[in-house]
């Protein structure tokens, strides 16, 4: 039971990290607007890889409509966080 609680705590930490990353990218995209964002997304993905197990992210769409996806874990523990975003 203790091991399963510990796994849940770790899962919660990863979810909190992914949420912070999602908000971080939304803030960055709101600054960049329609400028070239490739280097920012690349750095953001490096952070995803460092902070999450098998972490990677994807930004689909163009300014101002984006869908941001973050995936981490593997097999049964694979998690996804997704958010649609329309910048004004």
């Amino acid at each position: 039971m203790q091991v399963s609680t510990f796994k849940q705590t770790k899962a919660n930490t990863y979810f909190a990290f992914a949420t912070t990353q999602l908000i971080s990218l939304i803030e960055q995209l709101s600054v960049l607007k329609n400028a070239d964002n490739r280097s920012f997304i690349q750095l953001w993905n490096q952070e995803n890889a460092l902070g999450l197990p098998n972490g990677n992210g994807e930004v689909i769409g163009t300014y101002p409509d984006y869908t941001i996806v973050i995936r981490w874990g593997s097999g049964e523990t694979c998690e996804t966080l997704q958010r649609q975003l329309v910048l004004s």
Partner: protein, 171 residues
């Protein structure tokens, strides 16, 4: 006639076997206890680190979100200037003795978050060719041109250290 060879109680070999079995059971239980204690400690550290990271990042983001302008003397300190009731206010965030401190307008230093081992900032600027980049504090020529702040917070102490990343855009 009474059998005088009949023994009452335990012989030495029986006692030794019982003792050995007892030791095996105790060492097993001790191992389980130590493992459970270690898991408990690690879980507590993870929870504390997450809470401290959340608090530090939220505090810094809120500070940047209300700022008219940000500035910094180095990459580990952040100063925000904002207007409140017609007055220009200033807050500086810095690290001292593994704690995040806020130095406000009255030069009153308040410890805000503990358990922070490092804090780094980069500043987003736009050059003349509409290219955005993150630069360190010493490369910023005009602080009014800073559009956002990249925040890196390292929380916890060894072996439970985790780096958290965030970004806050100026309004």
């Amino acid at each position: 006639m009474r059998d005088i060879t009949k023994t009452v109680g335990f012989v030495l070999i029986e006692l030794m076997i019982a003792l050995a079995l007892g030791l095996i059971i105790i060492s097993g239980l001790l191992g389980v206890y130590v493992a459970a204690y270690q898991i408990d400690q690690e879980e507590m550290m993870l929870n504390n680190n997450q809470a401290d990271a959340d608090l530090a990042i939220t505090l810094l983001q809120l500070a940047v979100h209300k700022a008219d302008v940000v500035c910094a003397k180095d990459d580990h300190t952040l100063t925000v200037r904002y207007t409140q009731n017609g007055l220009v206010m200033q807050e500086t965030y810095f690290l001292s003795k593994n704690s995040l401190f806020e130095d406000n307008e009255n030069n009153k230093q308040q410890e805000k978050v503990r358990n922070i081992s490092a804090m780094n900032f980069l500043f987003t600027i736009k050059d003349n060719s509409n290219y955005f980049s993150d630069v360190s504090a010493d490369a910023v020529k005009d602080w009014s041109h800073v559009l956002g702040v990249r925040i890196q917070v390292i929380v916890g102490s060894k072996p439970y250290v985790k780096t958290w990343y965030s970004y806050a855009a100026l309004p």
